[in-house]
Symmetry: C2
Subunit: 133 residues, 2 copies
DNA sequence: CCGTATCCGCCTTGATACTG
DNA sequence: CAGTATCAAGGCGGATACGG
């Protein structure tokens, strides 16, 4: 019932991410978490319905997507627009704040994707070290 | 013995982060994981030794820091420099690739930190909705 | 000082079933 | 379609002890 379990970290103390009790650490984890980032990334391309999102983010379960969306909505990054029709239609889209965050996140994602061959090469070097030496 | 448990995701397929089997998803998780991001952030300020890092990143255990560093080193984001002295001294620092990634990550972190009051306000609104009526 | 090895509890996750 | 409820399983992460 409590959306996403907040623990000890969420008290109001100075905003130093490195400190255990920093409130922004929680939000950061929602954003960078396993599904949060991919969800924001998907929504950056435009408004999406629940099951569209589910199909787009490969591997996410209904439950996790639901939890993720609630957390992001609560943090003010995602806006939920429900139409009381039948069948129901619910659209999710980024808020202005969400767009800002998503853009920086995508910059990171693209950076990693673009340098992926470097990463793969580094891995082979690393693994080679331990195998032969 | 296998550093950081790689699962099904790590095959060589097209680099579409949204796909379950995308190799960059793994690296992205190392970078944005609970401790990966904070570790990169700390190292962005300069080279650090193991225990300096451990003190800097509040709440990380030896085991998790060790795992995190290995994953980042394997991905070519962090360089490990061991001096065979006694007592041993090991310095960790970002590689050029690591610096690039860390900068984008920090941009994200600072964005979230800077807008934290918006987030907190959004949360109060959200929680208020569910409390009353 | 710099880690690795082992144990173990708990939370996250995923599957399934169900509701509006 | 758009979710919530429930439950079992296992991996993640912490604590501890030990090794180089």
């Amino acid at each position: 019932m409590d959306i996403t379990q907040e623990r000890t970290e969420d008290r109001n103390l100075p905003f130093d991410v490195f400190a255990r009790a920093c409130p922004s650490r929680g939000t950061l984890e929602h954003v960078t978490g396993r599904w949060g980032g991919l969800t924001l990334g998907a929504l950056h391309e435009g408004s999406l319905r629940f099951n569209e999102l589910r199909r787009r983010v490969d591997g996410v379960s209904e439950k996790m997507l639901s939890q993720t969306l609630h957390a992001l909505e609560r943090d003010g990054l995602v806006h939920r627009e429900a139409q009381p029709t039948n069948p129901p239609r619910v659209d999710y889209e980024l808020t202005p704040l969400g767009r800002e965050v998503a853009e920086r996140l995508l910059s990171l994602i693209h950076c990693v994707e673009g340098r992926m061959d470097d990463v793969l090469a580094a891995r082979e070097r690393y693994d080679g070290m331990r195998g032969t030496f």
